[in-house]
């Protein structure tokens, strides 16, 4: 069975500083990987996705993520965080074809002035 681990429940970053949110997955075949962001009281918005090809993927709002098969990781990064990035971030894994997603427990990002 597939699973996703986000080891950090909360992260606080100063505005303007760089950010890295960790995600590790467990899946027997080539995974499809996603990062979603959820602002308070809102639904989930897709930030970026990885299916195949270039292991560094670009997303919206200046985010990027790198797929590292050897480490079973798909970490999310942003070079300079803005106060509006404060939200909860979920990593998810799916499989080729028709399959449901498995979400991690999320990482809450706090941005300090």
């Amino acid at each position: 069975a597939q699973s996703v681990t986000q080891p950090d429940i909360h992260i606080t970053v100063s505005e303007g500083a760089s950010l890295e949110l960790r995600c590790n997955y467990s899946y027997g075949a080539t995974p499809y990987l996603f990062w979603y962001v959820q602002s308070p009281g809102q639904g989930l918005q897709l930030l970026l996705k990885y299916f195949s090809g270039d292991t560094l993927v670009q997303g919206i709002k200046g985010f990027e993520a790198e797929f590292k098969r050897s480490q079973s990781s798909f970490n999310l990064r942003k070079p300079s965080v803005h106060w509006s990035d404060a939200a909860e971030y979920f990593c998810a894994v799916g499989a080729e074809g028709y399959s449901t997603l498995t979400f991690g427990k999320g990482t809450m990002l706090l941005v300090s002035p």
């Binding site: 897709l46 996705k49 080729e96 449901t100 997603l101 427990k105 999320g106 809450m108």
Partner: protein
């Protein structure tokens, strides 16, 4: 804009009083999902429809039912809400098919359910 719309955004019900949450989509997606999300937790899949085929997750309580009368609409029925059912309920859609993007799910804004 094409989107996933959930109504209402906030719903208050009484313990044991049936409640229905609504989801509609203009994306013409063939799969619709219902998730339950409790505070500070990951979304938990309750069930989904692939076209008219209903797929229930093994651990979804019988108290939760769903209907999909047509492609655009999907409903979540909670027959006898308990205090533990208070949560955010998220609807999502995706388009599955040969040559199409691999199960990218698009979410609505959610319905926050309170049970008194």
């Amino acid at each position: 804009d094409a989107m996933v719309i959930q109504n209402p955004r906030y719903q208050v019900t009484q313990f044991g009083k049936p409640v229905t949450l609504s989801c509609s989509q203009t994306l013409n997606h063939n799969v619709m999902y219902w998730y339950q999300q409790k505070s500070s937790q990951a979304p938990k899949l309750l069930f989904h429809y692939y076209d008219k085929d209903f797929n229930n997750e093994a651990d979804t309580p019988d108290n939760f039912q769903s209907r999909r009368p047509n492609t655009s609409f999907c409903f979540l029925d909670i027959r006898s809400p308990g205090l533990g059912d208070a949560a955010m309920y998220l609807c999502a859609t995706s388009r599955i098919g040969q040559g199409l993007a691999k199960n990218i799910q698009y979410f609505g804004a959610g319905t926050r359910l309170s049970v008194l």
